[in-house]
């Protein structure tokens, strides 16, 4: 059984006991425990079920590479699936439950899959479930979906919050082991701005567990002293619990800091996402131990040798009472020695190498441990827990020589450098034959903007597994990253001789298929040696094909444990070398990052920037129904009493048509265009001429894309000799401003034109209706009479004591003034107008009333009459296209045959024969079908409303032939029921002569 030892545990604070719950059982751990060590300390080896066969699974590792021991953690708004127990710190009251089983962890019905494992091989689902056709969606897939997945889906919104922060540095060092600390020391002493990130709460990495001696003292002492030195340097920032997740182009690094992950509910953000721009990056990310592939290597109790050592030394937990060690290298002997020193039994060390005579094996033998060279595990015995191992010759086919009882197996297949950060941006790897590992190829680093190396891998991440080599390598790498020559001497570790490993990819070497189909490569996804061999046999020869066919390396550990073993098996199957097979792509993040952290603080109402007009609060106070328009909120209508929205809209329209109303038009885009070449520029931008616009005058203008299609419209006014103000649509302001700058910066860079987006600097209020002038006159301050201010002019002056610019323009067809006022005065002006208009029954009207009124008047609306495929000529706007100008944006596009064709659909008005409203989106049907069997059409509706003014449905639309079809009766499509008959009419339904708006 696994137990808590009475002594030791260098990371534990035994004075602080912590209660927690696992599957309903109350258990005890200590401050400093991970969930994994705490569970193990309570003899909880069985922790979950695998993905496909639902096999019982226990801990394999002690770090980020753990594939099995994932649990549900927390409740309600803090419920989280797939929490990796090896990297999650224990806290008091933690509630854990195991995943992927039914009804219970111990008795899982899904384990029936295991009985059929022989049928459910890699890729089996591509070969079956084909017939009958409906069965995939209705039978097979639901069953597969239900048995796949790991943890349960959360049900509630996240109770925690997250934040994001930015930083920059000369040298970012990822990894706070001895390599990272040494690197930080060198870069820090060179005066560079340094950030050092460590994913765990502790500095020093594996060195203290491995018993390294540095500068003549225990590693832990050197680490403490070095951290103290670094903390004193003002140019060095140290962060623990912070994982460098990904390296992106140009030295951009994402890092995830666990702020309150281990203190939930304390008010701090759960996590903080760091976005760091670094000139150079040092990857001191260490190495991960590889499992060995022998039959039954997934039975709970089989663990990585380094993990066994970690649990014993760091957390005083023994994974078992009797642990068999199996290895192809010397390092695993340290585990046997650590177990022995902790008073635990090690029945045998099985060393796959022909001989084992280095200092570590010698020491192990001297401690009385039996060492068997050239031996292997034929098979692990046990179901939910290891009960023993059968021993065989590594060079054989698995004939059992002996069985040994044990309750744990510590395995080591060698080490793989963590090269993720090196590889994210394109660093290349080379295969190191002697150490059987891929390590960074220093001649092919990922490069930065200057063509120099962006990332420097150091220490174990660079393939150096001994402290003696790690420290000078780190010092050298850091000096290179900092752009200095190495000064001083790197710390020196006491040498420890290790004999070279011998690669072992299957154990035993000649294992038959019965054994190979029980050798797990990817534990979580249940990919075995036999699956990779099957993939190779079936022609899925590319490593990417094998990965995707078998799902090797696609589990939540992203192949940290399985990939190298998998490619070695693939290479053997293809009879080629490992480097020929290559690796799959290393993609960010290094370990999974919480989506909430990636989103940061932008959630709820402010998940996108929220733009409000200066009059926004008034709208809310008056029961406005607000609609989103881009990032703005605009009042759609102002329902009173029990009014529906459409009743409110009708009332607002009639009030404007008969009296006066106010519209908050502040969201209209307002772009200043200024300079000696401004007129010339606007003549290129708009289809009509703007350079000859008189000062004080307004002119409606159209803008097209280069391809000729209408993209925005609005009124342009001329403020002075070289200054114009262009009004754009609400949605168009930023886009059109960028469009202007694009042309000015990229094409006409020598034109002297300056643009500014002043949309938010002004509030703008439309005062519309026959009584509009009376309302303004009541405010007083300037002459707004028809004589001094005719239609399409503007004047600056004062109204109600406020500085205003008043435009005689109309989008409603009524007598109308649009008044611009500095934003700070917006609300004051609005309220003054409301007050002054009371005697005329003034109302506030919303965007929908505006839409209906402009449709009654036959005015087009961007986004309704246009959709990116419409040119001004289609909308009978030829009058706004200058014939005199040599060029404007879109002119050449509009001359293309299809755009100049007389067959284009053109604008007309429509009235149904029965007065009903044509449905939104309806098409005008035409006889017959096209070559693809689709019904023919000859037009479509673009704006369709009930007109309270005319008391019937009105519509605008595009129809082949346009106004030449006047009087024709056509049929509009209906989603249900019969097509709708309508007559083609003039699109101007209200005040055709313009007497009202011009008056």
């Amino acid at each position: 059984m696994s137990t808590r030892l009475s002594k030791g545990g260098r990371l534990l604070d035994r004075s602080k006991a912590l209660d927690f719950v696992f599957n309903g059982k109350r258990l005890k751990g200590y401050q400093g425990d991970t969930l994994a060590s705490a569970l193990l300390g309570n003899d909880q080896m069985l922790l979950g079920r695998s993905f496909k066969y639902h096999r019982p699974r226990g801990l394999v590792a002690s770090g980020a590479e753990e594939p099995n021991a994932l649990v549900h953690l927390g409740q309600g708004g803090r419920f989280e699936p797939n929490q990796r127990t090896t990297t999650t710190e224990l806290y008091a009251g933690a509630e854990l439950s195991s995943q992927n089983h039914w009804p219970s962890l111990e008795f899982d019905v899904g384990a029936v899959n295991n009985a059929f494992a022989r049928f459910l091989v890699g890729g089996f689902y591509y070969k079956t479930f084909i017939h009958p056709r409906f069965a995939w969606k209705h039978v097979f897939e639901p069953v597969i979906r239900q048995s796949a997945g790991l943890g349960k889906a959360p049900k509630e919104a996240d109770a925690d919050h997250y934040e994001q922060a930015y930083d920059f540095c000369d040298v970012l060092i990822a990894g706070g082991g001895i390599a990272g600390l040494q690197a930080a020391l060198v870069a820090g002493q060179a005066g560079k701005r340094v950030i050092l990130l460590e994913q765990t709460p502790y500095w020093g990495g594996r060195a203290p567990v491995d018993g390294d001696v540095i500068d003549g003292r225990p590693a832990a002492d050197w680490i403490a002293a070095t951290v103290a030195d670094l903390a004193k340097m003002p140019n060095v920032t140290l962060k623990t619990r912070c994982m460098a997740a990904g390296v992106y182009d140009h030295g951009y690094i994402l890092a995830e800091e666990r702020v309150a992950d281990h203190t939930p509910g304390d008010g701090r953000p759960k996590k903080r996402l760091w976005r760091i721009r670094a000139t150079r990056i040092v990857a001191a990310t260490g190495a991960l131990e590889r499992p060995l592939s022998f039959a039954g290597n997934d039975i709970p109790g089989v663990m990585l040798a380094s993990a066994v050592r970690d649990y014993v030394v760091n957390w005083a937990v023994s994974p078992g009472d009797r642990t068999v060690v199996v290895t192809n290298n010397d390092d695993a002997y340290r585990t046997a020695i650590a177990l022995k020193e902790a008073g635990l039994a090690v029945p045998v060390i099985l060393d796959a190498r022909a001989s084992a005579n280095g200092p570590l094996p010698t020491k192990a033998r001297a401690m009385g441990i039996r060492v068997e060279a050239g031996k292997a595990i034929a098979k692990v015995k046990g179901g939910k827990r290891v009960t023993g191992v059968a021993i065989c010759l590594q060079a054989g086919e698995g004939a059992v020589l002996e069985e040994i009882a044990c309750d744990a197996v510590a395995m080591s297949g060698g080490w793989s450098p963590v090269v993720h950060l090196w590889s994210h941006c394109g660093g290349k790897l080379l295969w190191d034959e002697a150490q059987a590992m891929f390590r960074p190829d220093a001649t092919k680093p990922p490069t930065s903007h200057d063509g120099q190396a962006l990332v420097y891998a150091v220490g174990a991440a660079n393939g150096h597994l001994q402290a003696t080599a790690i420290l000078p390598d780190a010092a050298q790498g850091a000096a290179a990253a900092a752009g200095v020559t190495p000064s001083g001497v790197a710390a020196q570790a006491a040498p420890s001789d290790e004999a070279p490993l011998e690669p072992v990819w299957t154990m035993p070497q000649g294992a038959p298929i019965q054994l190979r189909s029980k050798m797990w490569l990817d534990y979580q996804n249940d990919v075995k040696v036999s699956d990779v061999q099957l993939a190779a046999r079936e022609g899925y020869e590319s490593v990417e094909h094998t990965k995707r066919y078998t799902t090797l390396g696609m589990a939540t550990d992203q192949g940290k444990l399985s990939n190298i073993n998998g490619l070695a098996v693939l290479a053997q199957s293809l009879n080629t070398d490992i480097p020929n097979v290559g690796t799959t792509t290393f993609r960010p993040p290094y370990t999974p990052v919480t989506l909430g952290a990636l989103a940061g603080e932008s959630r709820g109402e402010i998940f996108q920037p929220l733009r409000k007009t200066p009059i926004n609060d008034w709208h809310l106070k008056h029961n406005a129904y607000m609609e989103p328009v881009g990032l703005w909120r605009r009042a759609y209508c102002y329902p009173k009493g029990g009014e529906t929205h459409s009743q409110a809209v009708d009332r607002e329209i009639l009030a404007v048509r008969s009296g006066v109303g106010l519209l908050d038009a502040s969201t209209l885009g307002k772009l200043i265009v200024k300079g000696p070449d401004a007129g010339r520029f606007l003549d290129m931008l708009y289809t009509n001429v703007m350079s000859n616009l008189g000062i004080g005058k307004c002119r409606y203008g159209l803008m097209c894309t280069e391809a000729g299609f209408l993209t925005d419209d609005g009124v342009v006014i001329r403020l002075d000799e070289d200054t114009w103000l262009c009004h754009t649509t609400t949605g168009g302001a930023e886009r059109i401003h960028a469009h202007m700058e694009d042309w000015l910066q990229c094409e006409w860079w020598d034109w002297q034109v300056y643009t500014a987006n002043v949309t938010e600097q002004y509030a703008q209020i439309a005062v519309a209706g026959p009584k509009a002038r009376k309302v303004l006159e009541k405010l007083g301050g300037m002459d707004v009479s028809a004589e001094t201010m005719p239609f399409m002019t503007f004047k600056e002056g004062t109204l109600a004591g406020l500085p205003v610019r008043v435009h005689r323009i109309s989008f409603s067809g009524e007598l109308s003034y649009e008044i611009a006022v500095p934003a700070g005065h917006g609300l004051a002006l609005w309220e003054a107008l409301m007050e002054a208009g009371q005697e005329h029954g003034i109302v506030a009207y919303g965007t929908e009333a505006m839409h209906v009124m402009r449709a009654e008047k036959g005015f087009i609306m961007m986004g309704d009459e246009t959709d990116g495929t419409v040119i001004p000529q289609d909308l009978n706007l030829g009058w706004a296209i200058s014939k005199k100008k040599a060029d404007y944006l879109g002119k050449r596009g509009q001359e293309r045959t299809y755009l100049a064709s007389p067959d284009r659909w053109k604008l007309a008005g429509f009235e149904t024969l029965d007065g009903s409203v044509i449905p939104d989106g309806a098409y005008i049907l035409a006889p017959g079908v096209n070559a693809n069997g689709q019904g023919n059409v000859q037009g479509r509706v673009t704006s369709t409303y009930y007109s309270p003014t005319l008391k019937k449905g009105i519509a605008m639309g595009l129809i082949k032939g346009g106004l030449s079809r006047m009087g024709d009766v056509v049929e509009f499509s209906a989603i249900t029921g019969q097509p709708i008959k309508a007559k083609v009419v003039d699109p101007v339904f209200y005040d055709k002569e313009g007497e009202k708006q011009n008056g």
Binding site: R118, W136, Q146, Y248, E541, P588
Partner: protein
């Protein structure tokens, strides 16, 4: 190597059981890996979904089987293997609706046609309407689809909530006003589509030649004669270029320019969880879409990078915006974790619609410009391209997708219906 065995055995549950008894030692290679022959009746450059489907329908519909499919890397390794697997045909414009619906209907029986389970799952697809303007746009699509013979409908927010229990329909910014629903839209297993076509092509005797890069295109008298490759010169009577992100480069070898640009499209998946969302949801106002794979991963699509490049790498900025949008739409995903992110290189045309076209070079045909929407089109694209290559003239499915439409201004603009990635 040339006399490699072709796949001949059918896949079935019985075959699986039989092979299991012999520990699966008897399975054949899914496709042969021959060396190129000297000449072919047709060569297709690019063994992605579109290229392989083209070859398949050349054989199946037109009886042309002396065909080679040339692939620079590994088959299915481009966008076919790095998309979000969505299949739908609720397009607005007639030519798009025609080809995407053709593709969708071919997907319905593709597993049976290919004898390879591509896991097409018509689980239903929603496009959320979150502004009045967007709602009007989708209503237009419903009308258009009805006339085009594509089954879609507009559904209420309550129906949306029934179909997607994890959705938040009352968000503070863009409450959901309804959705455009295509019940027969869904997903398929992307790799399997490429593999299934490859196996079927190989079984017909076609040569799929991987790790073979095209270096040049030769011609005589304005007509293509062959291609130079890293595995030597290959003669061909007809050439189909189906290389997505690298279309511009191969077109350049053939001596013409294309109106396409290449950008990276971002995507990511979460860690796997138990089933919580059966339909595909696209939210175009807030820019994000999500589905749940059969493995349990939430598959999330983001936007395209704002600059041209050829790195198939993830970048961060779009991911951030996408996740903000999706956490607003599905608040329960906030505590899930991003497992993996990546980018695929998509080739975009000026109207965001594809090119299936003759080219200035005789007997050289182009299929590209699928932008962010290629996977769903694969069977229809292959069908139309095969017809074009076999007959030398486009059939009705391909006709409107000529590359000369840009000269005429005959755009097929779908931005009306899908402003973002589709």
């Amino acid at each position: 190597m040339t006399a490699q065995a072709r796949p001949s055995k059918r896949y079935s549950v019985f075959a699986l059981a039989k092979e299991a008894l012999s520990w699966h030692m008897g399975w054949e290679k899914a496709w042969a890996s021959p060396e190129p022959k000297k000449s072919y009746d047709a060569v297709i450059v690019g063994a992605g979904g579109h290229g392989l489907a083209t070859a398949y329908y050349l054989g199946k519909n037109h009886g042309i089987t002396n065909v080679a499919v040339i692939e620079k890397g590994w088959l299915g390794g481009g966008n076919t293997g790095r998309n979000t697997t969505i299949i739908r045909s609720n397009y607005l414009q007639d030519p798009s609706a025609a080809i995407y619906e053709k593709a969708r209907s071919l997907y319905e029986t593709l597993s049976q046609d290919l004898n390879y389970n591509v896991m097409f799952s018509p689980r239903g697809l929603l496009m959320l309407g979150q502004t009045h303007h967007e709602v009007r746009g989708y209503l237009r699509t419903v009308h258009a689809n009805k006339i085009q013979g594509v089954e879609t409908e507009w559904i209420s927010p309550q129906k949306v909530k029934e179909l997607v229990p994890i959705i938040n329909i009352d968000g503070p910014r863009y409450p959901i006003l309804g959705a455009l629903y295509q019940a027969r839209g869904g997903t398929a297993r992307h790799d399997a589509v490429a593999w299934g076509y490859a196996r079927a092509c190989s079984a017909m005797g076609m040569d799929i030649i991987q790790q073979c890069e095209v270096k040049g295109v030769t011609s005589a008298g304005g007509v293509v004669t062959g291609i130079e490759t890293t595995k030597g010169y290959i003669q061909t009577k007809k050439l189909g270029i189906v290389v997505a992100g690298h279309s511009g480069q191969v077109a350049d070898m053939a001596g013409f320019r294309l109106p396409v640009e290449a950008v990276a499209l971002q995507a990511l998946v979460s860690e796997p969880i138990k089933p919580c969302m059966d339909v595909v949801v696209m939210a175009n106002t807030v820019h994000g879409y999500m589905s749940q794979s059969d493995k349990g991963e939430m598959v999330i699509g983001g936007g395209t990078d704002g600059f041209n490049n050829f790195t198939q790498r993830g970048s961060f900025h779009h991911i951030e915006e996408t996740l903000r949008a999706l956490i607003e739409t599905f608040p329960m995903i906030s505590r899930l974790k991003m497992l993996r992110q990546w980018g695929g290189i998509v080739d975009m045309t000026g109207d965001r619609s594809p090119i299936i076209s003759k080219t200035p070079l005789g007997n050289c045909f182009m299929n590209c410009g699928w932008g962010t929407g290629g996977f769903k089109a694969i069977p229809g694209s292959g069908w139309a391209m095969a017809e074009l290559m076999a007959k030398g003239e486009p059939g009705p499915l391909a006709e409107e997708f000529s590359m000369w439409r840009f000269k005429e201004g005959r755009f097929i603009d779908e931005s009306v219906a899908a402003g973002v990635a589709h």
